[in-house]
């Protein structure tokens, strides 16, 4: 050890030339460059996703770094080809131009012939197809319906589950923390050790028996119960129950925070005649802002981005955002423009929330990591 340090002591003269201040500045510059490169690499996939949601499948084999100009639609194009290019159904095209569905449009008819035959202005036809060039993905996603549900309904269910789960999880976790902080150390550790198992049990391991348990209580399988409000409600309820069952982290954070509150506070509250429920609601809750924010920023992405459980538990017509997108992919497996639009649409809400409240996220995550 001493030999090693002594060997280090006389540093090579050339390195000395920089001096400590110079070396620190060099380190700073290198660190900044690394940060910059990493930032670009991190943001690039998001940018590429944004651009690709506007690039039609036909043009996907070329590199686009910005939304491509819509190509001029030639009036000599054949209707059938356009349908394939823009992933449009012939019935949809007929509807858009007011052509009766009973009319038979040959796939090889050119647009000019269509315009002449049905007396439609050429510009209207051009505008229609150009609109589908850039915005095909977004239009199909936001206006279409799939397996009896729409994008907006799926998004609504996701938000519903997220809000209810977060609220209930926080309330129940505060109860757990309050109860645990009053127990003896031995009992506290007993409960806490059982909660710790949650961190090492992967969802995949208990997925199948967990589903079986819900099956006993709720009878979720097709055939046991007709599709209806009750069945759909129970399905959503099972997802919420999985989300609010409590984690090692929430238990730990709230127990630590509530143990730190002086016991005298509760004694004085009870002397003033407050019940333990009133104590929790009016005195403890306002003191727990920091751990609550911490739990929200950690659990929000997990619940919003949940895929496995909704994919298993929910009917296709009653599904949340991510399984909805997955089923859209199965349906339109060639329309990548739609797929990327859907992915971007699913990512965007949370990213916006994250950027708006980034201060809370950074603080909450660091607080959680120190506990974890």
């Amino acid at each position: 050890m001493t030999a090693a340090t002594e060997r280090q002591l006389p540093p090579p003269p050339r390195k000395r030339g920089l001096g400590i201040a110079g070396r620190r500045r060099l380190l700073r510059v290198i660190a900044l460059i690394v940060m910059l490169v990493y930032t670009v690499l991190t943001l690039f996939p998001f940018y590429a996703l944004f651009v690709r949601s506007f690039v039609s499948t036909r043009d996907a084999a070329q590199l686009h770094l910005w939304i491509p100009e819509a190509a001029e639609v030639s009036m000599d194009m054949q209707v059938g080809n356009l349908g394939v290019f823009y992933n449009l159904d012939m019935a949809v095209i007929k509807d858009a131009f007011g052509i009766p569905q009973t009319e038979f449009l040959m796939a090889r008819t050119t647009l000019r012939q269509v315009a002449e035959k049905y007396n439609i202005p050429e510009q209207q036809i051009k505008d229609y197809f150009e609109g589908f060039y850039t915005f095909n993905g977004w239009r199909t996603l936001l206006t279409g319906s799939l397996y009896g549900t729409t994008f907006w309904a799926a998004l609504g269910r996701t938000l519903l589950i997220t809000v209810i789960s977060l609220t209930l999880a926080i309330i129940l976790s505060i109860f757990t923390g309050y109860g645990l902080s009053g127990l003896r150390r031995r009992d506290q550790m007993f409960v806490y050790n059982i909660y710790l198992l949650q961190m090492v049990i992967p969802a995949m391991l208990i997925l199948l028996p967990q589903f079986l348990i819900f099956q006993w209580f709720f009878r979720l399988f097709p055939g046991y119960n007709d599709p209806g409000a009750t069945r759909w409600g129970l399905q959503l309820l099972s997802i919420i129950l999985i989300n609010i069952k409590g984690t090692a982290l929430s238990t730990m954070i709230f127990t630590a925070a509530i143990s730190a509150v002086p016991k005298e506070l509760e004694d004085s509250a009870s002397i003033d005649g407050a019940s333990s429920w009133q104590y929790v609601r009016y005195i403890l809750l306002p003191l727990l802002k920091v751990p609550i924010v911490s739990i929200i920023v950690i659990m929000l992405p997990l619940i919003y981005n949940q895929f496995l459980e909704p994919y298993v538990y929910l009917d296709p017509a009653n599904t949340t955002l991510l399984p909805f997108i997955q089923s859209a992919v199965g349906q339109f497996s060639t329309n990548f423009q739609l797929i990327y639009s859907a992915i971007l649409a699913s990512v965007l809400p949370l990213v916006l929330v994250y950027l708006m409240f980034r201060r809370f996220f950074v603080e909450g995550v660091m607080a959680g990591a120190i506990k974890g």
Binding site: A4, T5, Q8, A31, V34, Y38, T39, T42, L43, A48, R52, L63, L65, S173, F175, T176, Y178, G179, L180, G182, L183, V191, I194, Y195, Q198, M199, V200, P202, M204, L205, I206, L207, L208, P209, Q210, F211, I213, Q215, I242, I244, K245, G246, N305, F307, L308, Y311, L322, Q326, F336, I343, V347, V351, Y354, L355, R359, V365, M366, A369, I370, G372
Partner: protein
């Protein structure tokens, strides 16, 4: 006389302690009542599934609605050595999973540790933290589709860009065995970079400043400081990152679905996909559960061991 007084006083004391213990007991009961709602839910949904699963492992239950369930003894367990169809499913998936776990564990250090050290040396930067943590807001499913978008053979944006810049000659193909094996951990590591960075950074921040200053005064260079001062003191952080990565990578699912593991891309069929398929698609429920238990129970035991080790080091 004094004797009776003492006896009386003792009686009074006994009385008050009994009263206190009644109050105390009532308080403890109330505490348990507060714990109970979440705890019973937790036990029902996390611990009870193990108990429910045990009898099923010894039957031939094919699906959740199987009307005829017959006991088969240990056949599900021995199938791993005797049944070629199970072997053909399980062992390639196990191999792919192990490759993924190793590569993914590497990315924990490439992304998480490097970024944490960088942040530690130049001081905490909220803006950069925001960027690094951003991918964690993206669902696993979206990360999988982003991988497809960037590295499809013909249409991948990254492929097209790298070829335009002349950095690669032949495009990377995400559906090839090597492509799946390398790109998946890369993207998963990218996604969890912020999480791992937070773990390592909190480990670094918990090191007492005196030890770092002392090592600088003693003339330790950066490399020596890293190995002799930082790493030994942030051992709990290493163990936590290891536990999370190990459990997380064995259970990776969403990303694989996005890469077509359920239907078109056999290279993305890892163990979790296999359990899912057995349970919900090909009517081999009991077999799937058995494989899951065989695979995961050693992992859970290892995880518990790592957790105890971490806590012993921390306190």
């Amino acid at each position: 006389m004094t004797y009776t007084r003492i006896a009386q006083r003792e009686g009074v004391e006994q009385n008050t302690t009994r009263k206190a213990s009644v109050l105390e007991r009532r308080r403890i009961l109330r505490d348990w009542l507060f714990i109970l709602p979440q705890f019973s839910l937790y036990v029902l949904l996390t611990i009870v599934p193990f108990i429910v699963a045990i009898p099923i492992l010894f039957t031939d239950m094919a699906s959740f609605t199987d009307p005829t369930v017959a006991p088969v003894g240990l056949r599900n367990f021995t199938a791993l050595f005797t049944d070629p169809s199970v072997q053909a499913d399980y062992f390639p998936a196990l191999r792919r999973t192990l490759v993924f776990v190793v590569l993914n564990y590497t990315t924990v250090y490439i992304f998480g540790l490097t970024l944490a050290l960088l942040m530690f040396e130049v001081g905490f930067r909220g803006g950069f933290f925001t960027i690094v943590y951003l991918p964690l807001m993206v669902s696993g499913l979206a990360v999988g589709y982003m991988a497809v978008m960037l590295f499809s053979r013909e249409t991948g944006t990254a492929n097209l860009l790298l070829r335009q810049l002349g950095l690669i000659q032949t495009p990377i193909d995400i559906y090839s065995p090597e492509g799946t094996a390398f790109i998946l951990p890369l993207l998963v590591g990218w996604r969890y970079a912020g999480y791992n960075m937070a773990i390592f950074l909190s480990g670094l921040l918990s090191i007492p400043n005196e030890t770092i200053e002392a090592s600088i005064v003693d003339g330790a260079n950066y490399w020596q400081r890293l190995w002799k001062v930082y790493f030994p003191q942030m051992l709990p952080a290493f163990i936590l990152a290891t536990t999370m990565c190990l459990i997380g990578s064995f259970a990776v699912f969403d990303e694989l679905v996005a890469m077509g593991a359920l239907y078109v891309n056999p290279e993305a069929k890892l163990l979790s996909i296999l359990f899912f398929t057995y349970g919900f698609q090909v009517n081999r429920l009991a077999m799937g559960m058995t494989l899951a238990v065989i695979t995961f129970v050693p992992l859970v035991i290892l995880g518990v061991f790592l957790q105890r080790l971490q806590r012993r080091l921390q306190y």
